[in-house]
Amino acid sequence: MPDRSTLLRVEHLRKVYESATGTVEAIGDISFTMDAGELVCIVGPSGCGKTTLLKCLAGLLRPTSGVVEMDGSPVTGPSPAMAVVFQEYGRSLYPWLTVRGNVELPLRHKRLTRAARNKLVVDALEAVGLAHAARSHPWQLSGGMQQRVAIARAVAYQPDVLIMDEPFAAVDAQTRADLEDLVRELHASRTISVVFVTHDIDESVYLGQRVLVLSTSPTWVQEDLAIDLPPERDQITTRALPRFTELRTHVYDQIQRAKRGQAVAPRSAR
């Protein structure tokens, strides 16, 4: 990593949902930092507020208290430095636009020449291996291909951080492996930072340079684990490494502890 500057800083983030039936504390106290160029996976038990955290990062939700900072300035709304890939590709892509139209839409308000815009679209579609499907509509494609379109749309937007919310939860296992490798490859070749939220422990260990394990709601960061696997990863050999098994067992234990409520909150959380 040549660039070691802090890109994303989250400090004492807290989110409380208020409703007529009472208040729900989704996020208790989350703090972490992320360097430029990192690939960080966030994993936690179901219902632990992963999506809430991600929406706060992306500027789609206002935290109740605490700070989210991108490049030193606070995040108050969606920013061109971030692009989100949602879990529900079927509802995130617009069915009335072609694949090309979907990838192009976020670029329309950027002041680009037609040629430059076109180049970004073509380049992004090539990067995800969908150059041949540019003129199709999303609903003509398989689920995995649709999620590739969503990734292409995010990549063409040229963000500093790619924020992915359980992007592969709805695709089959083989497609999922391909898509995981695609994310690692985009991360390596485009010097893009990635925040990858998942509930899949193996996926988090395989993909990440770091894994943040979240506790149950109200959530805090239970563990910040560096993944010391070799940077060149491979679905078969990496997953067969003894170290991979150790790490996934460790993360699994942490999540089990979180579910049983045995983990101890950091001093600052309560």
Partner: protein
């Protein structure tokens, strides 16, 4: 990067062209032909002068409508219909979008809109006539005042029902307000809007005829009422036939536009069915 080639779904075209044309003609034309024959049989047996046989009606049709009457009566009617429908589409979609996107406006207006929509538009004809006189404008206003409701209410519902993830996507990519309207809100509402337009067309046709029957010196409705009062029975039937044909023409034209506008919508349904 491993090349990723996947299948792109497309709709099958398996049947041969010849048999397709044959069936597509036989089915829609079969029953009308049968009914015409039946009508002819009944007409030759009955002594009632109110049921002339199809040939007499066809003759009356040619004499009545082919020629100057087409310019004097049919075209003005169609022009008023077209203007009324166009006005109701523009007004319905514009107002519906604004109301659908503005929560307080929607809550304020919804009961009133339901009330206004429940009023049968023909009863407004005398009122509009008083206000605007017996003019073409009056007829266009009457047509639009009835046809606008299905479009308006459907647009409100369609705009309000925009998918939350799609909206969040637009938000996260900072898509501008106009782009959001044009690329998200209106397309997402378009199936509902088109359903509204379809209803509006039949309402508009009815109102076109009624507004001309009330007070007019030209138009299809005026002619038909005139023939009725003067016992020109075959001519009257020919006018009704022409109205039916106008209705069919409208439906076909609408179908063509709809298939173009909602190609994605029908495509999804086809893929889901397969």
């Amino acid at each position: 990067m491993t090349a990723y080639t996947g299948r792109i779904a497309s709709t099958a075209r398996s049947r041969t062209v010849g048999s397709r044309i044959a069936t597509s003609l036989l089915y829609p034309l079969g029953l009308p032909t049968l009914l015409l024959v039946l009508w002819g049989l009944v007409a030759t047996r009955t002594t009632s002068r109110f049921f002339p046989d199809p040939l007499t009606i066809a003759e009356a049709f040619r004499e009545t409508w082919v020629g100057p009457a087409f310019v004097e009566d049919v075209l003005p009617s169609l022009a008023r219909l077209g203007l009324g429908v166009a006005a109701s589409i523009v007004l319905g979609i514009a107002a519906g979008t604004v109301i659908g996107l503005t929560r307080w406006l929607r809550e304020l207006l919804e009961p009133l809109l339901e009330f206004l929509r429940a009023i049968p538009p023909p009863v407004l004809i005398p009122v509009v006539m008083l206000l605007l006189g017996i003019t073409d404008t009056m007829k266009v206003v009457v047509i639009a005042s009835g046809a606008v409701w299905p479009i308006l209410l459907n647009t409100i519902d369609g705009v309000r029902g925009t998918d939350s993830v799609m909206t969040e996507t637009a938000e996260s990519f900072q898509v501008t307000w106009w782009e959001r309207l044009w690329f998200l809100v209106l397309p997402a509402a378009s199936p509902r809007i088109m359903a509204g337009v379809r209803q509006a067309l039949s309402v508009a046709l009815i109102l076109m005829v009624i507004s001309e029957m009330f007070a007019s010196s030209s138009g299809l409705g005026y002619r038909i009422a005139y023939f009725q009062r003067n016992y020109l029975i075959a001519e009257m039937w020919s006018g009704i036939l022409l109205l039916g044909l106008v209705g069919v023409f409208l439906a076909v034209a609408f179908g063509l536009v709809e298939r173009r506008v909602l190609r994605w919508y029908h495509g999804i349904r086809e893929v889901n069915r397969a």
